[in-house]
Amino acid sequence: MIRVENLNKTFDGRLVLDNISVTFETGKTNLIIGRSGSGKTVLLKSIVGLHEPDNGEIWFEDILFNNLDFEERKKIREQMGMLFQGSALFDFFTVEQNVRFPLDMFTGKTLEEKTERVNFCLKRVDIINSNKLYPSELSGGMKKRVAIARAIALNPKYLFCDEPNSGLDPLTAILIDELIKELTEEYSMTTIVNTHDMNSVVEIGEKVIFIHEGIKCWEGTNKEILHSDNQILNDFVFANSLAKQLKSTENNNSV
């Protein structure tokens, strides 16, 4: 479980996160949704310690993460995996080296053991016979999969995904969503996904929080989101014409 309490973050005097409090539950896919520039990525990066919050608390189970120094944070970070928006695979490493990197840095395993784990992780995300390829030789979807494989290499307790579907076609996006959900359940991880993709919300949003202009405006499940009376949330959720049509059809049926 990850608990955020009264988190504030400013950049150059501009308030980006305003008193955010939320609990992300273990074994569930927790989604942070909101428009571009609403503060989703800043919240995610503040949780993992890539941004230092101005004030507020971030708890990983019973450990106050933002009070720890670099060395103490390392122990928690070894239990984290993160999928970045652009995958963030290391350009100078092959697929295999990318996935092996956390194992090289943080375990004392033999090369054979590491290779076995790398192959397991790559197989788990359906990447086969691509160990020797470089990131520049992969498609967007494959890069995301390799990044997920790298994120789960150390068998993390916490998985963070920043816009996992950005730049992907709808079918690949669904596959990535399903993979994240499966892994979350399989390893009982606390997963937090940043997204503005409504398909993801419907498919995997076991818990959803909606951020608007740095403020948490709504919290609920993917089932509740479709029936909310929060106007700002509805403007976001039913932004496209197809969703609007569905909403009006549903309203007509209920009348």
Binding site: L50, F70, M80, G86, A88, F90, M105
Partner: protein, 234 residues
């Protein structure tokens, strides 16, 4: 940033492997350009020295001596450093800058890796170890270029040139050149890495950081050239 760079490595073996990789990438891959430039630099120095000392009072072997001292004292260390500031400096700044804007550095930090140390320390060590070798290669190739140009153009005989480069040789000049090279190597790597590491924005900013890295490194090299010359030769 330097405190982070020089903190204790997480896995010394991985840092060693990275250092070896950087020695090839930043050092061995620069041998070609340094050799070509040094060869022509030596040739021009010899020809210019010859045309400026066209006087029967001066023995011709002084051309070899002048060529040797110019190359060892100034050209092989400083000119090579300026060339490397352009080649290696821009390479380091753009590589680290691209890693920054594509969140690869965030990925390292996220894993608990000291990104500044992991990315920069091997480059600093690699250039500190390899650049003196590049300077020595430059000295040898430049003198060879000077000999070939001088004898081919007929401004000096082979015997006189060889006598000149051996005449009144002061070994400390080599030490002086190597000391300068070490300072220059540190300047190139640290300044370029700094500009790359703290880049913000996108590809445009990476390009700007790369340009800044070359300009600042070059200016600092020239400044330290004056300071070190005063300190080491006075």
């Amino acid at each position: 940033m330097l405190k982070k760079v020089f903190s204790k490595p997480e896995k010394p073996l991985i840092y060693y492997q990275q250092t070896m990789h950087e020695m090839v990438y930043l050092g061995v891959n620069s041998v070609g350009i340094i050799s070509i430039i040094s060869f022509f630099m030596g040739a021009v120095i010899t020809l210019q020295t010859a045309y400026n000392t066209e006087n029967p009072i001066y023995p011709t072997y002084l051309i070899g001596l002048g060529c040797r001292d110019s190359i060892i004292l100034e050209f092989s260390s400083t000119i090579s450093a300026l060339i490397l500031a352009g080649k290696v400096g821009s390479n380091i700044a753009s590589e680290i800058g691209t890693m920054r804007v594509t969140e690869q550095i965030d990925a390292l930090e996220m894993m608990g890796v000291n990104s500044a140390s992991y990315l920069i320390l091997p480059k600093i060590i690699a250039t500190l170890l390899f650049n003196p070798l590049l300077t020595l290669i430059s000295i040898i190739v430049a003198i060879l270029g000077g000999w070939l140009a001088g004898t081919t153009a007929g401004v000096i005989t082979s015997e006189d040139f060889i006598y000149g480069i051996q005449y009144a040789f002061i070994p400390y000049y080599i030490t002086y050149s190597i000391i300068k090279t070490l300072f220059f190597a540190f300047i190139i790597t640290s300044v370029s890495a700094f500009h790359g590491y703290f880049v913000e924005g996108g590809s445009l900013e990476v390009g700007r950081a790369s340009t800044k890295a070359v300009v600042y490194s070059s200016v600092l090299i020239l400044l330290f050239n004056v300071i070190l010359t005063q300190l080491l030769l006075s």
